[in-house]
């Protein structure tokens, strides 16, 4: 076999999943937002026609699932047009929304355009905490939108992003979901990139919180069996094997950011020394097959020890490149969530450091003022 260097992967990979981040504009200010810390510097969004071309090209390569997200995708006035084109091309279209920018009439229009699925995100189960975390008055509107989604004939799919400040309210969250008549509830764990990375010490839950939350989730899963499906995963910082990030770099997942930058995962922009192509300059086919950015961590040839000789590498692909970079300084290291990583201690000390951080410490909200402050400080 090849002694060194990049070995192209054996499996033919295709971008089965296209995530179209239509915009970074968003009326909310979630402190765990995965958008880049300098999202305000991204000025020019792709226009409708360019999005349509991206949809066509990715579809021709096999993309079948389309996620429409952001920012808040509903701030795009051409959302209906983009959905209609996607559906015409044969995509299964998923709208990932905070509910802001939608009302019952617009949901009907999206439905008529062929939208397949809507997921509404909530910040918490009470108006006060939800609005605090969202940085705006959004709770009542979200309740209305959740009901309107169901009234339009869709399953009601709610997503709550969990962290230290709302993990203890798991019971209240699930009570709210059940009262609303939710069909699916995703209890998503905060992913520590972007704004969540800045707020990590304030957002990481404690082990005790997780033990309690897990018990609550399991009880509800049993009680609601057949009525409301509840997805709950333990945050990976508390595991000893990393998640199979994106099912492998450049294997099935393609993100296109609002300005047209194509990424193997939505946080990959943060990685140093890599440049990612833009759909304005290149075809999706070239980007996927030939661009250096998408080939950088394909397959296994780039791996260092302990991943290189590890018999689990086909299961997790060495974990997340962004997490490896953020925690160890080098994206080609093993994801330090892995207990085989020599730097696993960094994850453990992050948990300790967070536990020692008082809850009174203010959160950094995702808004232009914070962007200026973060970049001014540097």
């Amino acid at each position: 076999m090849s002694a060194a260097g990049y070995v192209p992967p054996e499996v033919p990979s295709r971008p089965l999943w296209l995530l179209a981040e239509l915009t970074y504009a968003c009326p909310l200010q979630c402190p765990y937002c995965s958008n880049p810390l300098d999202y305000t510097a991204v000025r020019e969004e792709l226009d409708t026609e360019t999005w349509k071309r991206v949809l066509r090209e990715a579809r021709a390569m096999g993309a079948a699932q389309l996620g429409l997200s952001g920012g808040e995708p509903a701030t795009r006035t051409d959302l209906e047009e983009i959905v209609a084109e996607a559906r015409r091309l044969g995509y299964y279209t998923n709208l990932i929304t905070s509910g802001l920018g939608l009302d019952a009439a617009r949901i009907e229009r999206l439905h008529a355009a062929g939208l397949d699925h809507i997921q509404v995100s909530f910040q918490a189960s009470t108006e006060e905490l939800n609005n605090h975390l969202a940085g705006t008055d959004a709770f009542r509107h979200k309740l209305e939108i959740a009901r309107a989604v169901k009234a339009a004939g869709y399953p009601m799919v709610l997503c709550f992003v969990l962290h230290r400040d709302n993990t203890d309210s798991m019971d209240a969250i699930l009570t709210l979901a059940a009262q609303l008549g939710a069909d699916y509830v995703e209890l998503a764990t905060t992913q520590y990139y972007g704004w969540a990375w800045v707020n990590r010490d304030r957002l990481l839950p404690t082990r005790e919180q997780l033990v309690r939350a897990e018990a609550v989730a399991h009880r509800w899963q049993a009680d609601m069996k057949g009525r409301m499906k509840i997805y709950y995963v333990v945050p990976d910082y508390f595991e000893d094997r990393p998640k199979a990030c994106m099912n492998g770099w450049g294997k099935v997942f393609l993100t296109v950011a609002p300005d047209g930058t194509a990424l193997p995962c939505h946080s990959a922009r943060e990685l140093p020394g890599l440049s990612f192509p833009n759909v304005r300059d290149h075809s999706v086919e070239w980007i996927w097959k030939d661009s250096p950015g998408f080939n950088r961590f394909r397959g296994y040839g780039w791996m260092k020890e302990p991943c290189r000789s590890c018999d689990e590498k086909e299961k997790d692909f060495g974990g997340c490149r962004c997490q490896a970079f953020l925690l160890t300084g080098a994206p080609e290291n093993a994801d330090p969530v892995c207990s085989k990583s020599p730097e696993h201690g960094r994850v453990l000390s992050a948990i300790e450091q967070a536990a020692a951080t008082p809850s009174e410490r203010p959160l950094v909200f995702r808004n232009p003022r914070s962007v200026r402050r973060l970049h001014g400080e540097a």
């Binding site: 295709r14 096999g62 079948a64 299964y92 397949d116 869709y154 399953p155």
Partner: protein, 87 residues
Amino acid sequence: MSGARLRIAPGYRLQWEPAQSCHVLLYPEGMVQLNPSAAAVLELCDGSLDADGIVAALEAKYPGADLAADVRQFLEVADERGWLRSA
């Protein structure tokens, strides 16, 4: 579900994928690739036939094959996974 006419559950879509050269079942944020026999069964789940009708239609299409047991077993699995509804 015996006797009921079957159709693909709302939110699920059966479709041919040229790039993968197979039928797939698409659903919220997910996709399963289907082998040709699974696709042949699901294509008949259009709300007009019950399980017996589906077996009969397939046996008419592939004469000589004894498909009943396999088809019923597949329909059960498909139902368990939430792919089917009674029309």
